[in-house]
Symmetry: C2
Subunit: 195 residues, 2 copies
């Protein structure tokens, strides 16, 4: 018998903090006994979508492939954490439908702050016109209307955001509560997945 994991899907503008929060979340879930796979949009492109560009069709196709991978991981007891701009409501809705156990986390950093951070220098390039199809500049970002969880990254650091997500997952009943005594909250009735 295989028990299901679930997918944590982080959406938001470039430089919103998706990957940073995903990286803060990963060790916390591992410490609770879970297998976790971080599917970072940029990294996954290399393995899965090196052929794709950044127009609407390409972004949808990329999101669909990431969805497929997240789905097979989740149904094998793993927690895939997706960090992907995923600007289109339709792609996120499809991911939810396909994967089933799915939480949409909206990393809600405002454009001005993202542009100031500009982790990869993409906003600068987009403003200079040297790259096109930059989400937030000349490509749309369709804000989630009913995200399961919303985190903001101005008043909270990544560690706090990760803890907040864990708390929400506990409330949802998908994660056992971590007891104050420091109990790991490892899944009860855990099944073998490894030697």
């Amino acid at each position: 018998m295989t028990h299901h994991g679930f997918c944590i899907w982080l959406t938001g503008l470039p430089s919103a903090g998706k990957t940073t929060i995903a990286k803060a979340l990963t060790p916390k879930l591992k410490a609770r006994g879970w297998n976790v796979e971080l599917l970072d949009g940029d990294e996954v492109r290399t393995g899965l979508s090196a052929d794709l560009g950044f127009d609407r069709k390409a972004r949808e196709m990329h999101a669909a492939r990431v969805t497929f991978v997240a789905k097979v991981l989740a149904r094998n007891g793993v927690i895939p954490i997706v960090a992907l701009i995923s600007p289109y409501t339709s792609s996120r809705a499809k991911a939810r439908q396909e994967i089933g156990r799915f939480v949409e986390v909206y990393v809600t950093t405002p454009l001005s702050v993202c542009e100031e951070r500009d982790v990869k220098g993409l906003y600068k390039k987009a403003r200079a016109g040297t790259i096109k199809e930059m989400t937030g500049i000349d490509d749309p970002y369709e804000m989630p209307e009913h995200p399961d969880i919303t985190v903001e990254t101005i008043e909270h650091n990544p560690d706090q955001s990760a803890d907040y997500i864990l708390l929400e997952l506990e409330k949802k009943g998908w994660l056992p509560s971590a007891s104050p005594s420091g109990h790991s909250g490892a899944p009860v009735g855990a099944k073998a997945s490894a030697v």
Copy 2:
């Protein structure tokens, strides 16, 4: 701590028996306590490679995507079973290199027998010229020169082939021996992966 699974990669001509053997193998591994994901070439195309055709470049790209999925599954303690014609030595070599813990299983059914079985009616279509790029007919199949395991499907039924693969995996030390007393051979020191 995540322990590694491993990938069982079945290669062979169309109608060689790859999917049938994979389906015989899956419940046997699950009964031993493993999470198993069958990545059947045709089915995975829908989720991952609907955009691709069957020329050399497309087949290589498809194999690379399947490799990516198998890799992330295996490193999360799952056993992906790939059933894919995978006609090119280079694709299989890349899969081995990427995934690491990898067994190549050559399903060695002769072309004449595959053509007689013609499970999907593809050989008939290829002979009639209504489809092109059919492996074994007008597209090459590069036989594995040093497969880890070779199974033949004329004298052995799928159940026997699956048992043979399990035995070889035990010899390799990747599966604990199933004891004659009926012990499941479940992995020792199994880690949590699920609730």
